[in-house]
């Protein structure tokens, strides 16, 4: 069991990295089903459970930065429980989803924890230290690998029920609260962009973009097209007036 658990944990680490980096999609349940099935000596059940989980997760993709229930841990736990516990694929799905949701919560936390590290990266950037920037990225991946390794190893080694009780002992208000904080966090990034880009003459366009999405329910592409329409008009109108180059712009918020 120890060897199997270690091998599955290793696969979880690799797949966990692939979910964000590489994106060759070896992390999908359909592939995990085959790999975990081979490790546990039941390829057929692995394939069938993997395919079943795949259909559940098909629509759960990272849209606009929102994290769906974690597909890596969901896939691995589902297949492992199906083979080890001799469960029907559908029952394995029911066991796997709570794990996946809990892991998703922790991933949200990791993305929050990684925010302050960006200020270390700012210092490296200012010092033109390319090695430093590279190290931060390798560190991020190493961290994810260890995280997935541990998360996959423990429940399989200890057995599903022990792991489930650990998961349920984390207070829900804390996990939900962190999720809410994570959903608010992009405001900090946008504020930093605005501090650099926002000048008086552009406020109108910020409002237009906001209104188009809020009331028009447009996606970002049409918003950019509307922006392009204004930009083109402005570009050629100022060209015809011939004042484009003579007007010296004053940097109001230089850096």
């Amino acid at each position: 069991m120890l060897i199997s658990a270690l091998l599955i944990a290793l696969w979880a680490g690799i797949a966990g990295i692939d979910l964000f980096d590489g994106l060759t999609h070896i992390h999908r349940p359909i592939v995990t089903g085959l790999v975990v099935g081979l490790i546990l000596g039941d390829m057929k059940t692995g394939l069938i459970t993997g395919a079943t989980l795949e259909l559940v997760w098909m629509g759960m993709v990272p849209l606009a930065g929102a994290q769906p229930p974690n597909v890596v841990i969901g896939g691995i736990m589902g297949v492992a429980f199906a083979i080890l516990g001799k469960l029907q694929p559908a029952a394995a799905v029911g066991l796997a989803v709570p794990f996946a949701v809990a892991v998703q919560g922790v991933i949200t936390l990791i993305f929050t924890i990684f925010s302050p590290i960006m200020h270390k990266a700012d210092k490296y950037a200012a010092a033109a230290d390319t090695r430093g920037i590279e190290k931060i990225n390798y560190l991020g991946m190493a961290f994810l690998f260890v995280f997935y390794f541990v998360i996959a190893f423990l429940p399989i080694y200890l057995g599903g029920s022990a792991a489930a009780s650990i998961v349920s002992s984390i207070p829900i208000w804390l996990i939900s609260g962190l999720k809410i904080a994570g959903a608010m966090m992009p405001a900090v990034g946008f504020a930093m962009l605005l501090k650099i880009m926002l000048k008086k003459e552009y406020i109108a366009f910020l409002i237009i973009g906001f209104i188009l999405v809020t009331y028009g329910h447009l996606t970002i592409l049409p918003v950019a097209l509307v922006g392009t329409a204004f930009a083109l008009y402005d570009f050629f109108a100022s060209k015809n007036r011939g004042d484009g180059s003579s007007k010296k712009e004053v940097m109001s918020d230089g850096i």
Binding site: P116, N137, L178, A191, L212, S245
Partner: protein
Amino acid sequence: MESNTEYENPIPVKVITKKDLNKMVFRSLLLQASFNYERMQACGWLYGLIPGLKKIHKNKKDLSNAMTDHMEFFNTHPFLVTFIMGLILSMEESKQDRETIRAIKVATMGPLGGIGDALFWLTALPICVGIGASLAIQGNIAGPIVFLLLFNALHFSLQFGLMHYGYNTGVKAITTLKESTKKVAHAASIVGLCVVGGLIASYITLSTTVVITAGKAKVALQADVLDKIMPNMLPLGYAFLMYYLLKKGLSPIKLILITVIVGVGGHALHII
């Protein structure tokens, strides 16, 4: 105040080879290695560009300025990012205004993100996975293999193709860009700010769960009051609170801490 649009070495160079571009396609696979909520893919984006930036900016001050700019908030689709990389590399080579480079980056990242989501997560992935799963569900080992081959053929041909396409597009457009840099920067900023306005409305999620009870009447603050005035009012307000605090001189780290406290605390108090 001196802006950072000046280069110590403003002479355009032409040093990026096809081999460099291919190398940076592979590096782009680490786009989300240091993903976080504050800058999203910025540090991974910079990681991908490093070999190119090092070759273009031999001057340390110029390299430092370029790297600092590329650490700003960045988020797009991880497959289509190579198009923006190619475009930006050609602009860095011709030593465009840093302001213009930033504006082009911000104006392209949002739309490509949206296209990518629709194209890959909602179209290509379900198709490839559907074909694979229909085989695997019968216990056929070909399922996962067919899935991986189909999906990655699309994935990598696009990533390589878009890198070269973006770079060549940039190189061709550069003479036009050079002639009217200021106006291009102005136009790109218009698109950029529209996109940021849209991003604020779509990326930041914040709503209140407060219900005001007055006698028998129950008024849900979010649905009955705030949404009636203007939906997405709280996300917009929060973004501008952050903007205000940033202008006041608070560091981004403090803003993150405030956000965590507001999120967890507000939820514990049943406000959000």
